[in-house]
């Protein structure tokens, strides 16, 4: 079993019996270091992680797990309260079925199983006390681009838990974000929309794109009409933001997600207002853009 560096005062642990295809520790990321080349990282849907934390009585910025396509089997070494948010998925505490979006009581030694989402892609799991791996630059998030924070969760890991802070939230049920068949994203043009032809913006706003299978925490890569450039040549590196739509040489847009690099050398045609929906967009999902005024 692999231990992780932990803080003082940890109380119990999560024993990872099965990590699932892609599970990482995430909190709200490490903002404030972009000028040193450190990505923001953090949960792909911060509101969903914050909700899971609230349900178990944690502060919103406590660290939890971000699951991609579920498949996790976890054992708690102490009794705890757990909440799973995000995609619609089968949750079981030992053999007992549990609900997404509700606090669940897990006895010491019980096994928590999270299946494969029926729709969507990702879940966030919070345990009272939070995951207490040692923070790096103020965050416990796994940064898959820069390699900061704990490595992705593997079978056999022992993840230390913190001391529960308060009672679980007195909620019966919360409403999850539905996963639509077609994802509509609000796009604001700029900062380098002038590097593209007028036709490029019309294509971006007027045609459907699909999410490519090579999408990850760094960015959602899209496949569709290539966006023609009006200005040839290389853009000197400049700062990029969450939700920025970058257009590399092949003309296929990429939307930057939490682990995006701090600077980039391809022009940004626009910026998407809210990327949380992309956290649930499976490969093949249709994505359409519209302007700020509909």
């Amino acid at each position: 079993m692999t231990g992780r560096p932990a803080e003082q005062g940890t109380v119990g642990a999560i024993e990872v019996r099965r990590a699932g295809p892609r599970t990482t520790v995430q909190d709200l990321g490490r903002p404030g270091w972009a000028h040193l080349g450190v990505p923001r990282s953090g949960a792909l849907d911060p509101a969903a992680l914050a909700l899971a934390n609230r349900l178990v009585g944690n502060q919103a910025d406590a660290a939890g797990l971000e699951l991609t396509l579920g498949g996790c089997e976890l054992r708690l070494t102490r009794a705890g309260t757990v909440a799973v948010t995000g995609a619609d998925v089968d949750v079981r505490v030992d053999r007992r079925p549990g609900d997404v979006g509700r606090p669940l009581t897990v006895p010491a030694g019980a096994v928590l199983r999270i299946g494969t989402p029926r729709h969507g892609l990702r879940n966030w799991l919070a345990v009272d006390g939070g995951i207490a791996v040692a923070p790096v630059l103020g965050s416990r998030s796994t940064d898959t681009l820069a390699g900061l924070g704990p490595p992705p969760v593997r079978d056999g890991d022992l993840l230390p838990l913190g001391r529960p802070a308060g009672p679980p939230a007195p909620v019966d049920f919360t409403v999850g974000r539905p996963v639509p068949d077609e994802l509509w994203l609000t796009l604001r043009p700029g900062p380098r929309a002038d590097w593209f032809t007028a036709g490029a913006m019309a294509l971006l706003l007027g045609t459907a794109y699909t999410v490519s299978p090579v999408s990850d925490r760094v960015g959602a890569r899209l496949v569709g009409a290539a966006l023609p450039r009006a200005v040839a040549g290389e853009l000197p590196s400049e700062g990029v933001v969450l939700g920025a739509v970058q257009v590399p040489a092949d003309g296929q847009p990429l939307i930057f997600l939490a682990d995006h690099p701090t600077t980039g050398g391809y022009p940004l045609i626009g910026v998407v207002d809210d990327v949380a929906g992309l956290a649930q967009a499976r490969p093949g999902t249709t994505v359409r853009f519209h302007g700020p005024q509909r």
Partner: protein, 203 residues
């Protein structure tokens, strides 16, 4: 300088030249320290300064337009970092060819240039160093190496840079250093922060 909107919470200051980038970055950093500017990130780059995490970009842009950037020096204080460099990079002959010079002359020039960290990017602690005359710009390798060792000192375009950790890379390798460039337990975690003066001394 022109201010471009970037989504709902960011602004890009598109500067006229790198010197203006340095002055604006310092000015914005000072203003934030003084409580006159709210921004989660102030990110200098080759020709721009990005402000991200700005609650009200429209009014912030209007205020910035009325500011005049002061001298670059006062932002975080100017320090000089000496980077002991062993000049044995395998691309030195290639650099000499581009410079129409010899390997010893390339090494002499690099060891006697005062570089400045223009900005960081690519990886945590990776600094883009300016200071070489424009005629010494070199192209990247046509095919990047799958793995460049940590501490590699390299050139690309008008910049010099040092890989803080091993990664793929297409820069031309001129030497190596054992200096730690990024340490999460240090404050600041990067050894080479924007504005820092750098000497790649023989050692």
């Amino acid at each position: 300088m022109r201010i471009r909107p970037v989504g709902r919470h960011a602004l890009l200051l598109d500067c006229d030249d790198p010197a203006q980038v340095e002055r604006w970055w310092a000015e914005l950093w000072r203003r934030r320290e003084a409580g006159e500017l709210t921004a989660a990130e102030i990110v200098p780059a080759a020709g721009t300064v990005l402000l991200d995490g700005v609650p009200d970009p429209e009014s912030t842009a209007a205020r910035i337009a009325r500011w005049t950037p002061g001298p670059a020096v006062a932002a975080t204080g100017v320090t000089t970092v000496e980077v002991p460099t062993v000049y044995d990079g395998e691309d030195l002959p290639r650099v000499a060819e581009h410079w129409r010079s010899t390997v010893p002359e390339v090494v002499h020039r690099l060891a006697n240039t005062e570089f400045r960290v223009a900005f960081c990017g690519f990886a945590p602690g990776f600094a883009y160093l300016t200071g070489l005359p424009p005629r010494y710009a070199v192209p990247r390798l046509p095919t990047p190496r799958p793995r460049v060792p940590a501490g590699s000192v390299a050139l690309a375009g008008p910049y010099a840079g040092i890989y803080p950790s091993a990664s793929p890379g297409g820069w031309l390798l001129v030497g190596r250093t054992t200096l730690t460039l990024f340490d999460v337990s240090a404050d600041p975690p990067a050894t080479l922060t924007p504005g820092t003066r750098v000497r790649l001394v023989t050692g």
